[in-house]
Symmetry: D2
Subunit: 465 residues, 4 copies
C-alpha cells in the first residue's frame, strides 16, 4: 500500500515535487518495488553477473535467467508497456521514467524486468503493427520473456542515419522474399535466446517515393543464409551476451507473410517505433549518472586517499566539481521527466521535440559527467576497479545510437527555422507599433532608425525601403 | 475569463504541460495580461525608452512614469508579491515565473509593473521583518510605487561575497546610530525616486558570533553625510537612471528606530530575503534568452544577408547552433520553473538548493547563448543596432550579482559532501550483499576482490581489512 | 647596446628560446625600448588618458598627441613597417610580434607608436598599391603621423563578410566618380585627425567575374556628400575618439585619380592587405591577456579580500584557474609567434593558414580568459575599477572584426577538405600493403576485412568490390 | 644524404619553419627513415599486429619481434636516447619529437624502435643513476632490446599522485631487503619479456623528511614472492601483451645491491626521470591526432556515405569541425615542440613548466579531438572498424598517467602564485607613476581614485591608506 511509502526517502527524495504529485499510488508502489529490486538483487550482484558473463559468453548467464523468473513472479515484467497494450501494468511515461532511472543504476537491471533495449521498442512495434498471427507467434513469447529479439537496420556500406539509404535487398520470389545484403549491430546469432530479427529491407528500390521503398520483415534467427561474421565491440567492450554482430544475408528466404503491415511501409513503422522507446536510454542514463556521482562522492571522502594529506573532497576544485555534476544531473532529469510527461499529455507525435531534446542533451552530458567522475579516481578510474569505464561507454554509445546527435540537432534546427516566419510576423507588429510611438513622441526626426527592426528584414521594413 | 484564453498560442505555447496544468484560471488571465502589456507597451517602446533615458539621465524617464501609472491602473502592479502578503494578487511562484519570463523580454518592463530588482526583494524584506511603523513609512509607498529603494550591502574593501566581512561601521550615540564607511552598487543618489537605502552595517564587531555582528538599517536618501562619489558602469553601461553608485558614509546619523528587527539580526533578515527574489533575475533571463534567440532567427532568415549567396540560416553549422540554443533555453526554463514550483510546494527554505541551481546554471548559460546570438550578426551584433550587447551584459552581471557563481557552487558542493555519509551507508549494504552472493555462488576464491566496493573506503571493508 | 640587455628579465623572460634565438641585437634593443616606453609612459597613464578622452571626446587627447611626438623622437614610430618599405626600422614579423604584444598591454599604446589599426593596414596598402602621386599625398603624412586614416568596407545592408556583396555604388561621371550608399565602422567624421577614408565600392556590378566588380578608392574626409549619422558603440563602449561611424554617401564626388591600382582591382588589394596587419590584433591580444592575468594574480593575493578568511588565491579551484589561464596564454603566444615567423620564412601568401589560425583561436580564447579574470573580482570586475571590461570588449570585437570566426573556420575547413585527395592516396597505399601482409602471413581467410581501410572509400577498395 | 630530402613533402610539410630550420641533416635523415619505416612497416601492419596479439596474448607477437630486429638493423633503435648517453644517435629533444610524432601514428610503432614507454624512462633512469654493475646487468640488455622492463610506483590503497604516500614496505634483513605490499600498473608477469621491475618502496617510514623515506629498487621478475593477481583493463582494453597488472609482494627478497643510488633517494631519482620521457606520450599523441584527423577526412569524403544525398564533408557544420580539429592539432604541436626545444636550450629542470604544459593541455585535447573524429563515423566509429576507440583510450589514459591533469595544474598554479610578488612589485611602480601623472596634469582632485591600482592591494596603496 502506498500508505507505507515514505516519499522523503529514496527512491523518491530526489523527485521534483511536480513529478511526485503526479505519481498515482499504484505507481508509487511499483517504483518502490523496482527500487527494492535493484538495490537488493541487481547492484550488489553486478560483479557476479560480470563473472558469469565472462564464463558463459554469448549465452544468457544463469543469474540473469534466475532474476528474470523472479522479477516476473514479482510482477516486475514489462513495466514499460504503454497502458493501452494488453498486459500493461498501466504506468504513464512519467511513472515509468521513475522506474527506468532506477533500473539505469545497473546496465543489465532493465533486462531482469524485460524492459531492456531493443526489446521494448520491438514489443511496441509488434503490438502496434503486427497482425494477429504475427503477434501470437512473436509478440507473446517476447512479453513472457520466452525468447528475445533484435532490431536490424544499420548497414556498413551506407549512411544509415538517413534510413532512405538502407540497401539490404528483398525480392519477391513466389510466396517468399529473398534477402541479400549486410547489416551491423543488433545482437549476435550465437546468442540463442535471440530468435527473431526485425529487419528493415529495400523491397522497391525504384519507387519514386523514397519513403515507400522499404519494408519491415520478421526474420527467424535460424533461417538459412543468415550468417554472422563477427561481433563488433563498442569502445573495446564486446557487450556479451547481446553483442553487436556483423551479419551477411545470402539468399535468406522468408515467407511473404513475414512482412509487417505490408510491403513499402517500413518508414511508417519506424516512425511509430520512435515513441517512448527512444528515450528509455536517456531515462536510464540519469540513473547511471547518479551512480557515477555516488562513486565520485565515495572517492572524494575516502580516508585512504589523501594527496597532500587532504581528502580529495576537501579540495575546493573538487567541491565545485561535485556541485556542478549534481546540478547538471538534476537539470537533465527535468528534461527527461518533462519529455515523458509531454508524451503523456500530448501523445508521442507531439513529443517529437522533447524526445529529440533528451536524445541530444542527455547522452553527451552524461558521458561527460561520468568521465569527470572517473577522473576523481586517477588511473584507477579507467580500470575495472569501478564500472565507470563501462558506464561511460554506454553513455557514449547512446550518443550515436539512433543517429548521431548532430543529425538530431539538424532536424530540430530545421524545424525551428521553419517557425521563423511566425516570429517574423510578431516582430513586424513590434515595428509598426514602434513607428507609431516615435510619431506620438515626435521623435521620428531625432531617432532615425535607432530601432532594432530597422536592421532586420521584417517585411514591414522592406516595404518601407 | 480564462475561457477565451488559447493555451496553444503565445505566451502559453512554450509552457511544458505540467506547468500549464498548474496554472489557475486567474493566473492564465494575469499571464495573458502581462503578455499583452509587454508585447504592446514595452517591446515596441524599447528604443523610445532608451532615447528618453539618454536625455533624462538619472531621472525616471516620462514614459516609464506613464507606463507605471497605466500598469497600476490595469492591475499589473506587484505581481510578484507572495500570496500571504497584503496587496498580493495571489500568484504562486510558478505562476509568477511565467509572468517574469515575459517581463524579461525587455529589461525595463518589470519596472513598469513594480516587479523589478531590488524593489521586489526590499518589499519582501520589509513585509516580512519591518515593524508596523516602518511598514507604514516605507513599505506602503514602495507598494504603490510612490518612490523607490535600494539595497546596499557590497563594499569595495572586503570580500563581500562572504557577508561576515561587511565593515561599514555603525555606532550607537544616544538615540541614534552613526554610520561610517563605504558601499558600492545599489542605486545612485542622483536618482531622486530612490528615497530609501536598506543598508547592512557592522554594529557589534567583537561579538564572538560572527553571524550576530551586523544590523540592517533604513537610511533615507537625504540623510546628511551620505555622499555618492561616482557611478559604476557595468561592462561600460551606466545603467541610468538606476545606476550603481560608490557611496561614502561620513557620520551618517539615523534614529535608532531605523534598525530592522533589532541590532545584530542582519543575517537573519538577509537569509529571509533569499527567497523568490533571488531567482526573479533567472526567470527574466529566460525571457531575454528567448528574445535573443528570436533575433538570431530573424537574422538567420534575413534575405538581405546572404554570404556566398545563401541565407545565414541555410548553413548547417547555423542550423545546429539554432537547435542547440533552442534546446538549452527550454532546458533552463525547466530548471527555473522547477525551482519556483519547489518553493511553492516546500517553502523557500527547502528551496535553497533549487534556487542555487538556477543561480548557477542560468546566468552563465544565458550569457553564453546571447553571445552566440550576437555572433549571428557579425560586427553589427556588438553595436546598438540590436539590444543584444546590453542583454548580454545583464546576464553577465547576474553571474556576479548576489555572489559569483563559484561561491554558490562551493556552497552546494559542501552541502553535497556532507551527504556522502548517507551514500556510504547505502554502499556498505551493497557490499555486504555482494559478499553474500559471492559465497552463495561459490565465487569467493575465483573472484577475489573484483567488486567496486573493495576499492572504496566503505566502512564494512575497512573493518574487514 | 644589446650587450646590456638581460634576456632573463622582462620583456624577454617569457619568450620561448626559439624566439629569443631569432631576435637580432637591433631587435632586442627595440623590444626593450618598447617595453620601457609602455611600462613607463603608457600603463601608468591609462587612467589619465581615459579622463582626457572623456573630456575631449572625438578629438585626439593632448596626452596622446604629446606621447606620439615623444615616441617619434625616440625612434619608436612605424615599427610594424615591413623591412622592404622605405622608412621601415627593419623588424621581422617575429620581432615586431614581440613589440606588439607589449603594446597590447594598453589598448592605446600602439597608437603612440603609430602602430595601431587601421593605420598599419592602410599604410601597408598604400605602400604596396598606391602610385607615386597618391603616396606623396596620403602615405607620407600617415607615416609621419600628420593625420590619420580609416578603412571603410563593411555595410549595414549586406553580408559584408562575403565582400562580393559590397554594394556602395560608384559611377564614372566625366573625370570623377560619384559614390552613393552606406558604410558602417571605420572611424567618425568628427575626429578631425582622420583625413582619409579608403573605401571599397562597387564600380562594375554586372561584370561576370564577381571578383572584378569592385574598386578601392581614396575619399578625403571633407568631401561634400559624405555624412555621418551616428557613432556605433561596441558592447556599450563608444571607442572615442576613433569611433565606428554610420556613414551615408550621397553623390560623393572624387577625382578618377583617386582609384587605387585601377578600377575593378579591389579584391587584389584587399587580398594584399591581409598580410601581417591581420594578426597585429592577435599579437596585441596576447599582451592584453597577460595584463588581465596579472590583475587576476593581484586579486588572488589581495590580503584585503578574504572570503571565509582565506586569500582568493588559496582556493584550489582558483589555483587551477590561474594555471589554466597561464598555460593557455603561453600556448596562444606560440600560435601567434609561429604565424609571424612563418610569414617571415615563406611570405604572407603562404602564411594564409597560420594567419587564419591566429585569427580563429586567439580572440575567442583571450575573450574567454579575460572573462575568467573578471570573475576573480566578483561584481567589481565588471565595473571601471579595472580595465578588464574594456579589454574583454576589445577581444570580443576582434572575434568579429575582419569577418566572424565561423567564416574563417569555414574557409580553412574547405581548404582542408580539398587536401583529402592526397590523404586518400596515402591510405590507398596502406591498404595495398596491408593486403600483401595478410597474404604473406596467410591471414586472408582468418582476418577477412578486419582492417580500417575496408570501411573507408579508398579507391583501391572500391575497385576491389 | 639530406640533399635528397624534400622538406615540402611528408613528413616535413607540416613542420613549422622554425622547427625545420633547427633540424640538422642527420636529423632530417633519421626523421625520413622513421617516416618510411612507419608508413611501410607499421601502419599497414596494424591489423596483422592486432590479430597476432589476439592469438599470442601476453607474449610479444612474432611480427613485433621481427620488426624490432629489422629496425635495430636499420639503425632505428633507441632514437630517444639523449646525446650524452652512450649509444645515443644524438638527436636533440626537438629532433626526436619529430620522430616521436611519426611513431605515434600507430600505438605500437615506438616499440619496434625500442622507443616505447616505460622503456625510455627506465633506460634514462638507469643510465643516469645506476652504478656500473647495475648498468651492465640491466641497462645494456634494455638498450639492445634483449628484454624489457616495467616501472612500478602506483598503489591501490593510497593516493599515489602524491608519491610520499607510497607504502610498499621494504625492510633490511641482513644483506637483503624484504618487500611487502601491493602495486598496480606497470606490466604483467605473464609477459616473459619483462625481466625487470623498477620499484618505488618505503624504506624509512619514520624519517622526518618525507622526501627521504623512499628507495628505488631493482626487482627481477622471477623473484619468489612476487605475484600477479590479474590484469587491469583500461576502458575495457587489456593492452596485451604489456598489460597493467595488480601485483602482490609477499616477502619478496632482493639483494641490498639492488637499491639504486642508495636508500632514501627515490625522489631524487623520480625527479630526474621526469625529463624528456614525460612528454614522449604527448609527442606521440600528436601523431595519433593526425591519424584520427585523416580518418575523419576520409569519412567526410566517402562517396558511399551520403546522408540526405550529400557527402558528410559538405555539411558546413562538419567543414567547421574539420577546421577546428586541424587548427588545434597544429597549435598543440607547437606546444610540444616548444617543450622539446626548451629542454634542449635550458635543460630538463628548466623545462619543468613546459613539460607540465604539454602534459596538461595535450592529452585532454587529443582525447576530445579523437572523440570528435569518431563521431564522424556514427555508430561505426565506436567499433573496431577503425582504431579510433583504442586511440581515444590511449589519449584518455595519458590524462591520468603520471598523475591526473588536475594535480599538474595545481602544481603550476601554485608556482605561478608564488610569482605574484614580482607582479605586485611591477604594479606598485605603475601606481607610483600614475600618482605622479595625476599631479602633473592637476587631475588629483578631479579623478580621485579612478585608477585600477587603488582597488588592488599593491603595497604602495596600503601604505597610503
Amino acid at each position: 500500500m502506498s500508505s507505507t511509502i515514505d516519499t522523503t526517502a529514496p527512491p523518491f527524495e530526489h523527485l521534483p515535487p511536480w513529478v511526485l504529485s503526479k505519481l498515482r499510488p499504484i505507481a508509487l508502489e511499483k517504483i518502490q518495488a523496482v527500487h527494492d529490486w535493484v538495490e537488493t538483487e541487481c547492484i550488489p550482484a553486478d560483479s557476479i553477473m560480470r563473472a558469469q558473463i565472462a564464463k558463459h559468453r554469448w549465452q544468457m548467464p544463469p543469474l540473469m535467467r534466475e532474476l528474470r523468473e523472479k522479477a516476473k513472479a514479482h510482477g516486475l515484467f514489462n513495466l514499460f508497456l504503454p497502458h493501452h497494450f494488453p498486459g500493461s501494468p498501466g504506468l504513464t511515461n512519467l511513472e515509468y521514467a521513475c522506474c527506468a532511472e532506477i533500473m539505469g543504476r545497473v546496465y543489465w537491471a532493465a533486462q531482469t524486468m524485460n524492459c531492456h533495449a531493443p526489446e521494448t521498442g520491438n514489443i511496441e512495434l509488434l503490438a502496434k503493427y503486427a497482425n494477429e498471427e504475427q503477434k501470437a507467434c512473436w509478440l507473446q513469447p517476447l512479453l513472457t520473456g520466452e525468447f528475445s529479439s533484435a532490431y536490424s537496420m544499420t548497414e556498413p556500406d551506407v549512411a544509415s542515419s538517413d534510413a532512405t539509404n538502407i540497401s539490404l535487398r528483398m525480392e519477391k520470389v513466389g510466396d517468399e522474399y529473398v534477402l541479400n545484403g549486410r547489416k551491423i549491430f543488433g545482437g549476435v546469432l550465437w546468442n540463442q535466446d535471440i530468435k527473431l530479427y526485425i529487419v528493415m529491407a529495400c523491397s522497391d528500390p525504384t519507387n519514386p517515393n523514397p519513403w515507400r521503398r522499404h519494408s519491415m520483415v520478421l526474420v527467424p534467427s535460424d533461417t538459412p543464409g543468415l550468417r554472422i561474421k563477427r561481433n563488433l565491440s563498442i569502445m573495446g567492450y564486446d557487450h556479451a551476451p547481446d553483442g553487436h554482430g556483423e551479419f551477411v544475408y545470402t539468399d535468406v528466404r522468408i515467407p511473404a507473410t513475414n512482412v509487417i503491415l505490408g510491403p513499402g511501409r517500413a518508414f511508417e513503422i519506424a516512425q511509430g517505433r520512435l515513441g517512448p522507446g527512444r528515450i528509455h536510454h536517456c531515462m536510464r542514463l540519469i540513473g547511471q549518472a547518479e551512480l557515477a556521482y555516488e562513486y565520485a562522492l565515495l572517492r572524494a571522502t575516502d580516508t585512504r586517499k589523501t594527496p597532500r594529506g587532504r581528502l580529495i573532497g576537501s579540495f575546493d576544485s573538487n567541491i565545485e566539481r561535485v556541485a556542478q555534476i549534481r546540478l547538471e544531473i538534476d537539470a537533465l532529469r527535468l528534461v527527461v521527466f518533462n519529455a515523458a510527461d509531454t508524451m503523456d499529455a500530448r501523445g508521442n507525435k507531439a513529443g517529437r521535440y522533447v524526445i529529440a531534446q533528451s536524445k541530444i542533451l542527455v547522452p553527451e552530458a552524461v558521458a561527460r559527467m561520468i568521465d569527470e567522475c572517473m577522473q576523481f579516481f586517477g588511473g584507477q578510474g579507467l580500470t575495472q576497479h569501478t564500472p565507470l569505464p563501462e558506464m561511460w561507454t554506454y553513455a557514449r554509445f547512446v550518443r550515436v545510437a539512433d543517429g548521431p546527435d548532430a543529425a538530431h540537432r539538424h532536424q530540430v534546427g530545421r524545424d525551428q527555422l521553419k517557425g521563423a516566419e511566425k516570429v517574423r510576423g510578431r516582430h513586424e507588429r513590434y515595428y509598426r507599433l514602434a513607428q507609431e510611438l516615435k510619431r506620438r513622441f515626435g521623435l521620428e526626426e531625432e531617432m532615425g532608425d535607432e530601432c532594432v527592426w530597422e536592421y532586420l528584414d521584417v517585411s514591414a521594413i522592406s516595404s518601407k525601403l
